[in-house]
C-alpha cells in the first residue's frame, strides 16, 4: 500500500496552514463577532487569602453584575486524582466564601464594550477579611502560616514516596553530593491569551462555545458536569489557537461563567483574557524545590539518588490534570535514561495562596532534567572528569533497549550515548576547552554545558489509569471521508495550534492513499464535527492522531479498491493506490480517487448490485502496540560567554542532537525544537514570577516578566538521529515538548562550568545576573573564611 510519493512521511513539506496565517486570514476567538454580542470583564481578588464578608454590586447595575450566588445550580470544578491520599479542592467559578489567590474571579460584569465592563468591575465592592498568605511551598507543608483549605488540616494535595534503602550508599559511596535546587515559578505566555465566546442556540438547545482551547472534548465534558447539561447540549469549538503549551489544557472558570451567562441572558457574550490577567490572575507553572543527594563511584558511575521534592501546586486542583500530576511525576521520572541501583524520592504537591499550576510544555521534565543534570555535572567536577563522560558512563546503552529503568518506565528505543557523542563532536569540545583557558579577549569567561533528557510522548491508558484523573486516554479516533470530488477529509478530536497537524496529517494520508496533501482537508478542534479525543497534550498527536489517520486511510483504501474493482472488473488485490489514483498493477489502467468517489456518490447506477455498501466514510480507532509511551530524547550542548562583572551570559553556539524516531516532517520537527528551545532559554535566563510575603505577584506586566526575544535566542544547530519506535505506526515519536526541557540544565551547567575556577555554583533558575553575582560573592566569602 505504500506510495512512492515525496509528500508523505519524511517529506519537508511547507505548512499548509501558513497560507492563511501569513495572509492574516486566521480566525482566533478575538476575531469572532456576533450581532448583539456583549463583553465580559471580571472583578478579581486583589488579595491572596481572605474570607469574603460581603460583595456589593454597583448601584443600578445589579442585572449586569453576577456573583456565585447568582449562578444557581452551577457546580464547582473538582479535579480529583485516584492516587491514595489525594485531597480534592472545590474551585467555584466565582469565589464563594473565600479567595485563595490574587486574581481569583469574584464577580462577572457584562457591558457593551470591554472598557465599560471594566468600569463596572472597578465598582464592585468586596469586603475582605484578610488571612495570612501561604507563599513558600516548603513552609506551606512544614510550618504553615495558615491553611488554604481549612478542612484538610494541612497544605498538601498529595504526598508520594518511591522508597528504597540508601544506607549502604551513604556509608560507603566515595562521591556523595547534596544540593538544594530550585526553579522559579513561571507564567506561560502564548502569543494569544485565552478567550471565550458563548452563544445559546435555542433551535438546538445547545450552548455553542468558542474557546482558545487545546482539548475541546475535555472542556465539553467538564462544562457538562459543572453546568448540568448533557454533553450533546454543548458544542465547543477551538478555532485558530495562538499557542497552547499546556496553558490552554484546562477547563476554565471563565468558560463556566460565560456558558451560564449566554444561556441566561440569551445573548452572545465574550471574554478575552488580557495580558495582565494572563500574568497574575490565571495559572502558573514550573515551581519546584529539590533537596537531592547523589551517590557515585570515584569514576562517576551512579550508585543511587535520594531526593525530597516539593512542587508548588498553587491554590486549587485544575481540571483535568489535577494538582498532583507534576509532583507525582517528579517521583517517577527523575532517574530518566540513567541507570542506578538505588532510588528514593519523596514528593509533595504543596498548596499555596498562588494561582494553580498547569503542566507547561515539558511538564515536570524541565525541572527534573535541571535537578539531575546539574547534579551530574557536580559529580563530574568531583570525579575530575568531563561532564559528558559521566553521561556516557551512566546512560542506558542501545543494546539494552527496550529498557525498563528503576521506576519501571519503559524506554522503547534509542541510542542515548550516541546523541552525547555527536553533540560533543558538533560543538567541538576540545577547541572550546582550549579557548577557555585564556578566556575571551574582552575578559569574559567561556563555559561549556550540556544536558540530556528524555520525553515520554503519547503515553496512554495504562499510564494515566494510574493517575486516576478526570481524563484517561484510550483509543484515538479518526473520521475519514473520501468526498464526492475526491477531496480526502480527515477529522480528529485533537486540536492543532502550532503543531502543524493540518500538514503532517495530510502527509500521513498521502503516505497511505497517495492523495495529494493539498487535497486533504484536516478538520480539528470542534466537538460538533470531530470524534471524541482527549485532545492535544503530552506530545501525543503525531503518534495518536497520526496513527488514527493512517488506520482510517487504510480502511478507506480497502473500500476504494472494492468499489474500483467492481467498476474496472478486476480483483481488489490487483489494485494499487498511488498519486491520487487506483491502478491495476502492472498496467496503465487506472481511475483517479475523484472518479471512484464521483461514481460512488453521484452515479451509483454504474455500480453492480453486489458492491459492498459500506461506502467511503469511516471512523477508525488506533492505539499504539504498547501504551507506555514513546521516548524521544536529545543532547543539548552549548557554549556561553559569561561576564563575571555583570553576571550576564551570552550564548555563543548551541547544538541539539535529537532523536524523534521517524520524522513525519523534519521541518516541522525543527520548528518545534526552535520554539521549545526559546521557551527553555526563557526558563534558564529570564522568566520568573516572584511573589511577596503577602502573596502579591511582583511581575504584573511584560516590563517585569521578562521573555526572551529574537535577539536573545540563537539559532540552534540541529542534528537528527532516527531510531524508530517499535510501537507506533511509522516509528514516529512525540517530540513537541523536548525543546523546552533541556535548555535550563544545559545553560546553567555552562554557567557553572565558567564559574568553576571561582569555586562558584548556581543551583537556582533562572540564572539572573543577580543570582550569578550572588553565587560569585558567596564563593568569595567561603574562600576568604
Amino acid at each position: 500500500m505504500k506510495s512512492s510519493s515525496t509528500q508523505g512521511v519524511g517529506a519537508r513539506l511547507a505548512r499548509k496552514e501558513d497560507d492563511r496565517y501569513l495572509r492574516g486570514q486566521g480566525e482566533f476567538v478575538g476575531d469572532i463577532h456576533r450581532p448583539g454580542m456583549l463583553e465580559v470583564a471580571f472583578a478579581r481578588s486583589p488579595v491572596a487569602h481572605a474570607r469574603i464578608v460581603s460583595i456589593e454590586k454597583p448601584a443600578g447595575a445589579e442585572d449586569r453584575v453576577f456573583t456565585m450566588e447568582d449562578l444557581r445550580g452551577v457546580q464547582p470544578i473538582r479535579a480529583i486524582s485516584g492516587l491514595p491520599g489525594f485531597k480534592p479542592s472545590d474551585l467555584w467559578p466565582l469565589a464563594k466564601d473565600k479567595v485563595r489567590h490574587v486574581g481569583e474571579p469574584v464577580a462577572m460584569c457584562v457591558a457593551a464594550t470591554r472598557a465599560e465592563a471594566e468600569d463596572l468591575a472597578a465598582q464592585v465592592f468586596v469586603d475582605y477579611e484578610e488571612l495570612p498568605a501561604v507563599v513558600d511551598m516548603v513552609q506551606a507543608r512544614t510550618a504553615p502560616s495558615a491553611l488554604v483549605h481549612e478542612h484538610w488540616g494541612d497544605n498538601v494535595f498529595l504526598e508520594t514516596l518511591y522508597d528504597d534503602d540508601l544506607s549502604a550508599a551513604k556509608a560507603s559511596a566515595p562521591i556523595q553530593i547534596r544540593r538544594h535546587i530550585r526553579t522559579a515559578r513561571q507564567s506561560m505566555a502564548p502569543m494569544e491569551g485565552r478567550g471565550v465566546l458563548c452563544e445559546w442556540n435555542t433551535r438546538l438547545g445547545q450552548l455553542e462555545m468558542y474557546s482558545s482551547a487545546q482539548m475541546p472534548h475535555i472542556n465539553r465534558a467538564g462544562l457538562s458536569e459543572c453546568l448540568g447539561l448533557d454533553q450533546g447540549a454543548i458544542r465547543v469549538i477551538a478555532p485558530d489557537v495562538g499557542g497552547g503549551f499546556g496553558y490552554k489544557g484546562i477547563l476554565l472558570s471563565e468558560e463556566i461563567c460565560l456558558g451560564w451567562l449566554a444561556r441566561n441572558l440569551h445573548k452572545p457574550v465574550r471574554w478575552l483574557e488580557d495580558r495582565r490577567e494572563q500574568l497574575v490572575a490565571s495559572t502558573n507553572c514550573r515551581e519546584h524545590d529539590y533537596d537531592i543527594t547523589v551517590y557515585a563511584e570515584r569514576d562517576g558511575k551512579l550508585i543511587g539518588i535520594d531526593c525530597d521534592a516539593t512542587v508548588d501546586s498553587g491554590a486549587y486542583s485544575l481540571y483535568p490534570f489535577s494538582a498532583c500530576l507534576e509532583a507525582a511525576q517528579v517521583g517517577s521520572i527523575l532517574p530518566g535514561p540513567y541507570k542506578m541501583d538505588h532510588y528514593r524520592c519523596h514528593t509533595w504537591s504543596a498548596c499555596t495562596n498562588k494561582p494553580p499550576i498547569l503542566p507547561y510544555r515539558g511538564v515536570a521534565r524541565t525541572g527534573v532534567c535541571f535537578a539531575l543534570e546539574l547534579m551530574l555535572d557536580a559529580v563530574a567536577r568531583e570525579a575530575n572528569i568531563e561532564p559528558f563522560e559521566v553521561r556516557l558512563r551512566n546512560l542506558v546503552q542501545p543494546h539494552e533497549m527496550p529498557f525498563d529503568n528503576i521506576t519501571k518506565k519503559h524506554f522503547d528505543s534509542g541510542d542515548y550515548p550516541e546523541s552525547v557523542r555527536q553533540a560533543i563532536s558538533a560543538i567541538n569540545l576540545p577547541a572550546w576547552r582550549e579557548k577557555q583557558k585564556a578566556g575571551l579577549p574582552d575578559g569574559r569567561r567561556i563555559g561549556i554545558g550540556l544536558s540530556v533528557y528524555c520525553e515520554q510522548g503519547a503515553h496512554g491508558t495504562s499510564v494515566y489509569a494510574g493517575w486516576g484523573i478526570p481524563m484517561v486516554p484510550g483509543h484515538e479516533q479518526c473520521f475519514a471521508r473520501l468526498s464526492p470530488d475526491g477531496v480526502f477529509e480527515v477529522r480528529i478530536g485533537a486540536q492543532s495550534h502550532g503543531q502543524s497537524l493540518e500538514t503532517t496529517l495530510a502527509q500521513v494520508a498521502n503516505e497511505i492513499l497517495g492523495v495529494d496533501p493539498q487535497n486533504v482537508r484536516v478538520i480539528h478542534g470542534d466537538t460538533g464535527l470531530t470524534p471524541y479525543s482527549t485532545g492535544t497534550w503530552g506530545s501525543r498527536c503525531m503518534v495518536m492522531s497520526g496513527g488514527a489517520v493512517a488506520t482510517a486511510s487504510k480502511e478507506i483504501a480497502v473500500r476504494v479498491k472494492k468499489i474500483a474493482g467492481k467498476i474496472m472488473e478486476v480483483a481488489e488485490q490487483d489494485l494499487v493506490l498511488e498519486h491520487g489514483a487506483v491502478r491495476v498493477a502492472g498496467t496503465d489502467r487506472s481511475m483517479t480517487l475523484a472518479e471512484v468517489a464521483h461514481i460512488w456518490y453521484r452515479k451509483p447506477q454504474l455500480l453492480p448490485a453486489d458492491v459492498d455498501p459500506a461506502g467511503l466514510e469511516v471512523t477508525a480507532g488506533y492505539k499504539t502496540l504498547r501504551d507506555s509511551g514513546t521516548f524521544s530524547y536529545a543532547c543539548h550542548a552549548l557554549v556561553i560567554a559569561l561576564d563575571t562583572a555583570l553576571g550576564h551570559s551570552e550564548i555563543l553556539d548551541y547544538v541539539i542532537v535529537e532523536d524523534g524516531g521517524t520524522l513525519v516532517n523534519p521541518m516541522v520537527v525543527d520548528g518545534q525544537i526552535y520554539g521549545g528551545t526559546a521557551q527553555g532559554i526563557g526558563t534558564a535566563l529570564y522568566e520568573e514570577m516572584p511573589y511577596d510575603s503577602e502573596g502579591q505577584p511582583l511581575a504584573s506586566t511584560l516590563a517585569d516578566y521578562m521573555l526572551p526575544g529574537p535577539t536573545e535566542v540563537p539559532e540552534p544547530r540541529i542534528v537528527h538521529m532516527s531510531t524508530p519506535s517499535p510501537y507506533t505506526e511509522f516509528g514516529q515519536k512525540g517530540i513537541g515538548e523536548g525543546g523546552a526541557i533541556a535548555p535550563p540544565a544545559a545553560i546553567i551547567n555552562a554557567i557553572n562550568d565558567a564559574l568553576a575556577p571561582l569555586g562558584a555554583e548556581l543551583t537556582t533558575s533562572p540564572a539572573s545576573p543577580r543570582r550569578v553575582l550572588a553565587a560569585i560573592e558567596a564563593a568569595r566569602l567561603r574562600q576568604a573564611a
Binding site: A115, A122, D274, A703, M706, G709, P769, L773
Partner: protein, 271 residues
C-alpha cells in the same frame, strides 16, 4: 486593560494646548508619543478627564540650530534623533543613545519631551540630558521659563513642571571639537529598560569633566567634577560616587552601577 473614558483633543496651536491643560486643573494630561502614557491609561494607573495630543503643534516637533546650541522640540521622536534627521550638538552621543532606546516601533513614536517629563529614572534621556545639563524650555499661562536639568528633574517620576505647564523644547549646548563622551547601560535584554546607566563627558574647551550615574532610585546623580572617574578611572572614587548616588546598599545594584560607570569611562577612549 482598557482605559477609563476620557475626552480627547488634538489642537494645532500651542496656546490652545496650554490653556486646555491649565484649565484642566491637573485632570487633563498632555500626550506626546503615548508610549508611557498609553500603558498607564490602559492599566488605569492614570485616569484623566481629558487628553491633549501635542503632536499637531508644529513648534513642538521642530528643531533649530544656532552657533552655540541645538534646540529640539519636545515632540521630536527618538527615531528622528537616531536617524540624524535633526541637528546633533553632541558629536554622536545623542544619536547613539536614541538608537538604543527600546525597539524601533517605540522609537518611531516616543519623544524626547515625553521621556523627560515622565522622568522614569531608568530612561535614557533623563540621564543623558542630565549629563549634558541641558535646558528645559517650559510654557504655561504666564509665558515661558527656562530651567537647567539639575533643577528640572526632582526625583523618580517627578519634575518641576507645573500642573498648568507643558514642556516646549530642550536646548543642548554644542560640544567643542575635541569633546569626548562615553555612555554605557546594562539591560538584561534588548529593548528593556536599563538596570544601570553610566555616562561621562570631557570637553576641555568648555571646562567640562562630568559624569552621571543613572537608573537610580531617584534622579540621576551628576558628578560635576569627574576627574578621577571620567579621565583616569579610579575604582575607589567611582565606588564612592555610586554610594553617594544611593546605590550602595544592595550589593547587586552597587556592582551594576559601578560597572556601568567604569565601562562608560572606558568607552570615552573610543569616541
Amino acid at each position: 486593560m482598557k482605559p477609563a473614558a476620557f475626552d480627547y483633543d488634538r489642537p494645532n496651536d500651542l496656546a490652545a494646548a496650554t490653556s486646555q491643560i491649565a484649565q484642566g486643573d491637573g485632570m487633563v494630561k498632555a500626550m506626546a508619543g503615548g508610549q508611557s502614557l498609553g500603558a498607564m491609561l490602559n492599566l488605569r494607573l492614570a485616569q484623566p478627564q481629558g487628553v491633549v495630543d501635542l503632536r499637531s503643534i508644529q513648534e513642538l516637533s521642530s528643531a533649530t540650530e544656532t552657533a552655540e546650541a541645538v534646540t529640539l522640540g519636545a515632540c521630536v521622536t527618538h527615531a528622528r534623533i537616531e536617524d540624524r534627521r535633526v541637528p546633533d550638538a553632541t558629536r554622536g552621543l545623542m544619536p547613539k543613545v536614541a538608537a538604543d532606546i527600546a525597539y524601533r516601533a517605540i522609537r518611531n513614536r516616543g519623544t524626547i519631551g515625553g521621556s523627560l517629563v515622565h522622568a522614569d529614572p531608568a530612561a535614557d534621556w533623563v540621564s543623558t540630558l542630565s549629563l549634558l545639563n541641558a535646558t528645559a524650555i517650559i510654557g504655561g499661562p504666564n509665558g515661558r521659563r527656562e530651567m537647567r536639568m539639575e533643577e528640572f528633574l526632582l526625583g523618580a517620576f517627578e519634575t518641576a513642571l507645573g500642573m498648568d505647564e507643558i514642556l516646549i523644547a530642550v536646548r543642548i549646548e554644542k560640544f567643542s571639537a575635541n569633546a569626548r563622551w562615553g555612555y554605557w547601560k546594562f539591560c538584561r535584554k534588548t529593548g528593556e529598560f536599563a538596570e544601570a546607566i553610566g555616562g561621562v563627558l570631557i570637553d576641555p574647551a568648555r571646562k567640562i569633566c562630568r559624569a552621571v550615574i543613572g537608573a537610580t532610585n531617584g534622579k540621576p546623580y551628576v558628578i560635576h567634577d569627574a576627574r578621577g572617574i571620567a579621565d583616569q578611572f579610579d575604582a575607589h572614587r567611582a565606588m564612592q560616587a555610586v554610594e553617594a548616588a544611593g546605590m550602595g546598599e544592595d550589593a547587586y545594584e552597587r556592582q551594576m552601577h559601578f560597572v556601568a560607570l567604569q565601562r562608560a569611562a572606558a568607552a570615552i577612549h573610543t569616541t
